[in-house]
């Protein structure tokens, strides 16, 4: 293997900024690191919610709502629909933002929508081991992959019967660690 010189990055506060960044000492490039957006949906079909069992790390084998990192060039709504397609082979329409959650420790913002299937059926996507509908009292609470899955499911339940609703943020004082 050939050794490649690393770019001469230095850590300093750029002009006009107020916090340290990694800056290339040669070309001045500033390497900003910003939070990423996860888009997802609580997909509801006849009162049941669609969960997928994760085929990938982190939390392989645990259940989640379809959700994943937004891509450049799409809207947040498109991202949620794409993830439903990829993870659960589900075509969905969105009918409201359930939650806008922050997980500061890992630099994530999660935008989770309420959704429904726009055509019958779903399947097991490449990143899933299994996909199925759960009635409220069947949800495998102790086998959910992430705190935000708990939050979104609970917030969804509060919106049953409501046409419009404000989105929730993190539960008070909960920063999504697990």
């Amino acid at each position: 293997m050939t050794l490649v010189p690393r770019p001469p990055f230095v850590t300093r506060v750029p002009d006009g900024d107020n916090r340290e960044r990694d800056v290339c000492g040669q070309c001045g490039f500033i390497h900003y690191v910003n939070p990423k957006v996860v888009a997802g949906a609580v997909i509801v079909e006849e009162g049941k919610v669609l969960l997928c069992r994760r085929a990938i790390q982190p939390r392989r084998g645990y259940w989640t709502i379809p959700a994943g990192f937004m891509e450049v060039g799409e809207t947040v709504e498109d991202g949620a629909k794409r993830e439903a397609q990829e993870e659960a082979m589900a075509r969905i329409s969105l009918d409201g933002l359930l939650g806008l959650y922050s997980i500061p420790r890992i630099g994530q913002v999660q935008a989770i929508f309420r959704a429904r299937l726009i055509e019958p059926g779903f399947g097991v996507g490449q990143e899933s081991l299994e996909a199925r509908l759960f009635a409220w009292d069947e949800i495998p609470w102790t086998e959910l992959a992430f705190p935000s899955v708990h939050w979104a499911l609970n917030h969804w339940r509060e919106t049953i019967g409501l046409d419009t609703f404000p989105p929730r943020s993190n539960p008070e004082g909960d920063l999504g660690l697990y």
Copy 2:
């Protein structure tokens, strides 16, 4: 100036992925590029909204609501509060998400809250030339910096008198180009 060899990045679809990424041919590092989050607020004081005239590019000299890129380690709410402090020296509390907008062309998601001052007064931050309160019919519509400032101000107006409200997305078919 010393020439530094560029890392041998190649463009390919990583295993388990479904789109092209820049991947380092030596170490396998995948350079994911994802949208960034802008957090901001329509800050209301006695029925007027707080706008700042931008001291920086893009759109120097045009008016905007306080808003800017979220930092890792903060929540989206903290980001909106920090930007109000930095750009308008304003201490605010948030009372609802007005809009969650997407600008796909530039890879941005904008989370704009309704807010009010929690202590009297504001000022001109480092990134602003001027800051002032505008009544609705004083807003300099033709001198606003970005389409999303129009969207947020119009969505704010629809929430006057409402304690809770669903957030808006982009106006139908509008991807925020200008």
